[in-house]
Amino acid sequence: MSKQSIPVRKFDAVIVGAGGSGLRAAIQLSEGGLKTAVLSKVFPTRSHTVAAQGGVSASLGNSEEDHWHWHMYDTVKGSDWLGDQDAIEYMCRMAPEVVVELEHFGMPFDRTDEGKIYQRPFGGHMSNFGEKPVRRACAAADRTGHAMLHALYQRNVRANTQFFVEWMALDLIRDEAGQVLGVLALEMETGEVVAFHAKATVFATGGAGRIYYSSTNAFINTGDGLGMAARAGIPLEDMEFWQFHPTGVAGAGVLITEGVRGEGGILRNSDNERFMERYAPNAKDLASRDVVSRAMVTEINEGRGCGPNKDFVLLDITHLDPATIMKRLPGIREISIQFAGIDPIKAPIPVVPTCHYQMGGIPTNYKGQVVSPDGTPVKGFYAAGEVACASVHGANRLGTNSLLDLLVFGKSSGDSVIDDVKSGAIALKDLPAGYAERTMARLDRLNTQTGGSNVNETRLDLQRTMQKHCGVFRFKDMLLEGVAKITEIEKAVAKTEIKDKSQVWNTARVEALELDNLIEVAKATLVSAEARKESRGAHVRDDAPDTPENPNGRDDVLWHKHTLWHREGSRLSYKPVTMTPLSVETIALKTRSY
């Protein structure tokens, strides 16, 4: 296929991704009168946002007194002071507005008796600057993400947003001056590559949790937006920070809620010991997520894991009355039977700490504009949602702040596009010569590769390496080894071979292209993690322990800064954390303790 034969479609704006963030941005653009295309690998309401059950945070104060400033404080503290305080203030201030707006779009929130949006408590949400728990999470039963996507999708249909479903964006189009002019995308049904030429390109491609062997993320989360950005010379920010959930079913990754331990579930090692008694004598199995996760990894690393490979621990509820299990935890029993092959009434469930959420991403400001290392916007390029790093989550995300991030920065990125188009800051520039060469070369290579590596095996290798060398608890030597290993795996990724060379519905090709993105995220994560010689938030190193000089192992003198990973040469640079909010005083550095 030569570049002359590539069809070009012109739009004011192209959005890649139809999850919560992409759909929210699209509403802003379509209703603002811009001709807008939304590309998605799947039908919009099949995006991973559906999996979010817990809720979305906003200091509405419907059940008790609350204030955006308290929400801001919790978010800064949750981020272990790595979040940018301008972006955090912006998000928390905007929260009530975007949540009420969502309600007007038709979101069926649970209600109080007076008909207001019902709010429930959630870990880390406090009133009065950390004093006591406050009810801040708004939910639509246990289907918040699903309901949110449906409300946003309907609104887009009304606004005539044009959807391109089962299309995979392959690469950014960027000119010499660095301006982004759209994307190249593959239509799965035809195998055709098309250039989407636009004034503005918005990335809303979600997370990349599939870089880990054990992940709660659906298969779709292959970090395509991150891969595309990295290949186009955009550095990735704070990629060492990944949130883990302590109890995913070993192998499958499916999440087992904290509620199981709440009902009396006990974690055991291969000696059948209730090991949490040693790590957290008081809270035991109910200690905080990171404490439990680290204890589990320590047990596994010290040879007390279970199973033939000694690589998981057991979550035991066999001592509970079967009637209690059937009544209180029916869903968990089903999940355990289907995904672990174990009836938890009779035998304990194999579990491991499991990757859940990516805090880092494409660097943006709070307006949703992608920014260069010096803070100036990259012309024509915007990002929102899990793929972006604004940075509001810093080193650790607060539960329910992610759905909020989608709404706030989906909207602000849309507003920025409209402003930038109106002010003339971005206009439709000609596509540069040879703009598709790199992408077509990638496809040609796949079509002609012989004697290469197997896509599934290489992906598994990558995932196992990440899990072992850069998991929830990190060790200096393991990280160093991991960097070497991932560099080897990168060579295999560059030589993947697919047997099916057909054009139409070639899923083998698409999976190979997804792997091209996973490897960029894996490299960024390992290299950034190896370099950061402190513990902060979700990045916890064995060689940066809790000491009086550096509580929790955090080293603000050397490491209070954002990492930027540059694909070229796998090089790192750093930039300062924004400590100045928009209107209030700085929330000064403090030890994070709950």
Binding site: K41, V50, G253, G331, I337, S502, W505
Partner: protein, 84 residues
Amino acid sequence: MDQRERINRLRWRCTRRAMLEMDLLLGEFLEQQFPTLTEQQADAFVVLADMEDLELWPLINGSQECTDAVQGEVLALLRNVRVK
């Protein structure tokens, strides 16, 4: 659309879903059991796979009843899939 295209499209729709649980279940089912289905059952599976996850999940776990007989047969098979 030939058979390879049909299966590949179905594979995409079975393994790029909203929820991990469904990727795992439908993906496993497609590999292990789909080839052994009758033509009618295969058609019913395509209809089920086109549903959204939060429509399909209650049918699989039985918290909601399915009124279509052939779909019911396929759901019974899906219910017995073990992902390991």
